[in-house]
Amino acid sequence: MNDLLAVEATGVTKTFGSVLAVDDITIRVAAGEVYGVLGPNGAGKTTFLRMLFGLIRPDSGTIEVLGKSWGADGVGVLDGVGGFIESPRFYPYLTGRQNLEGLALLDGGVRPGLLEELLELVEMTDRADQKVGGYSYGMRQRLGVAASLLREPRLLVLDEPANGLDPAGIRDMRALVKRLANSGLTVLLSSHDMDEVEEICDNVTIMKRGTVAFHGTIAKLRTMAPDPGHLLATTDDTRALALAEQHPALRVTRDPEAALVVTGPTPDVSAYVAALVRNNIDLLTLTQTQTPLEALFFMLTDDTTHQTLDRPAELAELAEAAR
């Protein structure tokens, strides 16, 4: 037992031709934590994870995994590491079981019974003897998790594990990742879904165009999140708009689609809604446009949003936090 970092990437840069995919990023993942790497497509998350696995060589910087580095330890750096990048891929002409057996061979063998345990864990026992070519996307994702766990890792790296799954598949995958995280594994999870990261992770790095736009705990992120926005439709939007003047903490504007957009702290929104009802203005719909963390994610990663937001102080604070 020691307190080595599970992942220590320092000053990592990677370019593809003229495209700067990852720009001098430093990420440290402590052992035992569930760490999220969040960002829109093209932010550099997958490139970073590929470098961690040695699939891509960084132009500069160093990456250590569980205290080992590619330069010094070669493929031994992956001892204790399991996971997959983007959607897991297998040999379509082999069965799920044959694929796992082959990968176990490349790992130097696995303890007896583990393969069956894992097939059971990912609920693939019944389909294990069918060829992977006939598997659905979700089944391949589950087989990918089994293939990762076959290495009995202490660091599990999952790149958008719920990507492409249907809602039930997403729910099941998140539940599985949470179960694994609760078992004491260090989990490094890449995602472009704020909800997923919020639900699963302790700490998060938000990437934008190859750089770190934010890092810290989810709790810290929540405190920085902007007020939630709501779409409101009433029986009398004109009166509702007028009534909003009595609630200075709120910003209420007309939406092009004839609804009202209400932005502000949740207690003030509740008070405003109560006032509408007291004034005999019935609510037709009230829906949240974005969760606060989603809004924050877009603020951090979307250039166009940056230009239209009028919260420079908050953005400055976020930029400071990222540094």
Partner: protein
């Protein structure tokens, strides 16, 4: 920009003590995959069955193909027919047979997007490279052996095993002829391995199974064409197709084996250059797809 968090609690991150695969593990994996592929099985079945059909068809013709080496005796002598088939096979069949596996064995990982699957295990790129190379070369040896055996056995059984007339007009007793015919087929191996390595290089470079399979055949045919032209004596020894003709000396009187030695060197050089280039290419490559 940096992202740093501190550990909530120390967790076991001491260096892992997991087992590592032995040198043969990746090879066993590649062989297992090859055995599961219909294409490889089809090639082996073809190498076994097609010579029999060819022998039956040629033997049934009223006029032998006199304009080819040993063609004039092909309908009367099983050894001559074996050598006729050998001459034909060397033109493009042998490069094709080996390229079906060698041209696909690396590129299929790109096709299936499985590089990232195998390279995130405890096996290095170098181990995988040599495992794939040995598998492809092993398949080349097996398919050549099957093709040669099927051709010789079917020719001898269907046409007969009379003494063979050599290239200098000498009579070669049946037992000696059988030994020489078998040796002639065996001399195909170095050049065939050369084509195997060429297909491996093209498979690694192109990342496309179609290119890996078809290009060596096309390159082989171009080499045959170039080799047949006049005024290219200087480059002919360096062509990978030249060793395919080195067996002719075995049927001359006196026998000469110089071309066999030269062919061996040429083939070895092609193997070394192709494998060296493919290895460096694979080692340096960023795996971005899949």
């Amino acid at each position: 920009m940096s992202a740093t968090t501190t550990a909530a609690a120390p967790v076991d991150t001491s260096p892992a003590t997991r087992r590592h695969p032995g040198a043969l593990a990746p090879l066993r994996w590649e062989i297992r995959k090859l055995r599961a592929q219909y294409r490889a099985k089809a090639v082996l079945i073809g190498a076994l069955v097609l010579p029999v059909i060819v022998v039956v068809v040629i033997q049934g013709q009223s006029r032998p193909p006199k304009d080819t080496l040993f063609g004039r005796f092909a309908t009367d002598n099983g050894f001559a027919l074996s050598l006729l088939v050998l001459g034909f096979a060397a033109q493009w069949v042998l490069p094709l047979l080996t390229a079906v596996v060698a041209g696909d064995i690396f590129a299929s990982e790109d096709q299936h997007g499985t590089w990232k699957t195998v390279l995130t295990r405890s096996t290095s790129r170098a181990q995988l490279f040599w495992a794939k190379t040995l598998t492809a070369c092993g398949f080349a040896v097996i398919v050549l052996a099957v093709l040669a055996t099927s051709t010789i056995v079917s020719s001898v059984l269907i046409v007969g095993h009379q003494p063979l007339t050599g290239l200098s007009g000498q009579t070669i007793p049946a037992a000696e002829a059988l030994r020489l015919v078998a040796a002639s087929w065996a001399t195909m191996l170095p050049a065939m391995l050369g084509f195997t390595c060429l297909a491996i290089l093209l498979s690694v470079w192109s990342r496309n199974p179609a290119v890996g399979i078809a290009a060596p055949v096309v390159i082989g045919m171009v080499m045959q064409l170039v080799g047949a032209l006049g005024g290219v004596e200087a480059i002919r020894p360096f062509l990978l197709t030249t060793p395919f003709e080195a067996w002719h000396g075995l049927f001359a009187d006196p026998r000469f084996t110089g071309p066999l030695t030269e062919g061996l060197i040429t083939s070895a050089a092609w193997c070394a250059v192709c494998l060296g280039a493919a290895f460096v290419m694979l080692r340096r490559r960023d795996i971005t797809g899949g």
